[in-house]
Subunit: 319 residues, 2 copies
């Protein structure tokens, strides 16, 4: 009973106008596991090279049930370098050295099939599909994926195939528009949901996130405001960790997922995403406690809820 | 007892990927008055040329208590032309012909000083200041302004002077950052609020709006989702009309404005802004009824409120 994540484990070099980090722990699976392990047991599936620092291995060992499925392969760990613009929203990729990640073939231990939740982080859609097939041996209840512009542009058919097989699609706003080839976000959402997913989560970066259901439901959660964004790298994966981590606790407790669960999950996602931005790498995220999450959850209630009555008789309605 | 708005009345030519309008009713005061008059009596202060179509005059006459303060001057009406990109967020200005607006000197009838609310739409800060001085003869209770990048760049000192004298600043996100010369929105908000306003409203276009108080309060309202954006021109002024229009009804009814009033006002602003986007010019806005507003208000409640309890005991808190 747990959450299985398949994604990258990387060494990131990040420059922002306010600081930098070199060969820091990065990768979608690292951020996801650091966040989701606050909620439920995580199985991390990934690959690193022989150069991967022991301290990072030890940290990931505290966030994953075992490290058996974190392969250590001959060669170098995936390295990514990026530089953020002054507004911290746009970034330039300085280098991408795939290393051992280029040949990554996820192989899941039998036990991982019993996870309630699987998160297919941003990897090649063919690998995502392969993982889903391996999971079908077990009793997975919630299948979620993330993707990126590269796969939309280069492996669209494979991406479409895996979109048809998941329950939840988590995607950045501009990528939803790109996949659906429309500037209209509502139309883009319908295009994706028409493929089969029950839930579409649109990530809007500093603006928050949207939850759009195949049943026509709609929910919006503004981002948690933070004083200082030090490094937004990994915020989307930490968001996924908070969202799916919270849903896993509900499944774990024997609930069928209801709209209210997905809504609260979205808020948890925003909260974990906000922590991810507050330091380089998983610097802030790894210190987060249940009390920290609870405090931000209550703040989210207070800055989004308003009085449902507004005395409509006061509107003159001249029209 | 009413709302006084001082701003532009224009003839707009707008091209979008989905249609176009030529010499349609535009200008900040037109959009504002069309929206705010749904809530309370509006006094429109502006200027048009002799070429201003009679049908537009007649329409504005239905949205303003009188047209005595809409001067008809010798010359041509302010004309603006713009073309929107496919995403409907960025636009290119094709032409700006100020006409009689270049020599606009607002002169307020004595009676207008008794308005509870004044909205200084996006005009030269020196004119905004002059209007404020004219208003001080009366009993104005709420002074609000909008501005734009042009005034930040060319008349910064005058803008700062008028920022010191208003209660509410309504400003686009990128302009708040520009004025405060920081990419950090929270820091930009403090810079502006430190000048004296009690309330800062940050307009985030398709993402909604934020309400930040000098007392440290914070509230976020996601935008109302619409199926088809036909023309976003004037959405910010319609937003101001909904926001201040609602607040005027509260003042009118003898209430002191409380945080809950500003919050509900922000939701009304988003709603009126959404109507403005649904057609060219004031095409949709002029048909809006109190029932239309009430229906969207309830939808806003349902897509933003979530359960305040989330059974925090389920978080494992491994950290």
């Amino acid at each position: 009973m747990s959450i299985t994540v398949v994604g990258s484990v990387a060494l990131d070099t990040v420059y922002t106008p306010f600081g930098q980090a070199q060969d820091a722990l990065g990768g979608s699976a690292s951020y996801f596991a650091t966040a989701a392990s606050l909620y439920d047991q995580v199985n991390l599936v990934g690959v690193v090279g022989e150069d991967f620092p022991q301290e990072h291995l030890e940290f990931l060992g505290t966030r994953s049930a075992t490290l058996d499925s974190l392969q250590v392969a001959q060669g170098k760990t995936f390295r990514w370098g990026g530089r953020y613009a002054l507004d911290m929203n746009s970034r330039e990729t300085l280098f991408t050295e795939l290393g051992v990640f280029a040949e990554f073939k996820p192989s899941l231990p039998e036990a991982y099939g019993h996870a309630e939740v699987v998160f297919l982080a941003n990897i090649h859609p063919a690998l995502q599909l392969d993982v889903l097939q391996q999971m079908e041996r077990g009793g997975v209840q919630l299948r979620a994926l993330d993707t990126m512009n590269l796969w939309i542009e280069t492996t669209r058919d494979a991406l479409t195939e895996v979109l048809r097989k998941v329950d939840v699609v988590m995607i950045a706003e501009e990528e939803a528009r790109q996949y659906a080839n429309t500037p209209n976000l509502q139309a883009a959402a319908r295009t994706i949901l028409d493929l089969g997913p029950k839930i579409l989560v649109i990530k809007q970066g500093p603006y928050g996130s949207l939850l759009i259901g195949a049943d026509g439901s709609y929910f919006a959660a503004p981002s948690f405001p933070i004083e200082e964004v030090r490094d937004p790298t990994g915020a989307g994966d930490a968001f996924a960790g908070g969202f799916l981590g919270y849903l896993a606790t509900r499944l774990h407790a024997g609930h069928e997922l209801a709209p209210a669960d997905y809504q609260r999950g979205l808020v948890h996602g925003n909260i974990l995403g906000s922590f991810a931005c507050e330091d380089f790498s998983v610097g802030r995220l790894k210190e987060v406690t249940a009390e920290d999450i609870a405090a931000r959850y209550q703040q989210c209630v207070s800055f989004t809820h308003f009085e449902a009555e507004w005395s409509s008789g006061t509107v003159a309605a001249t029209a």
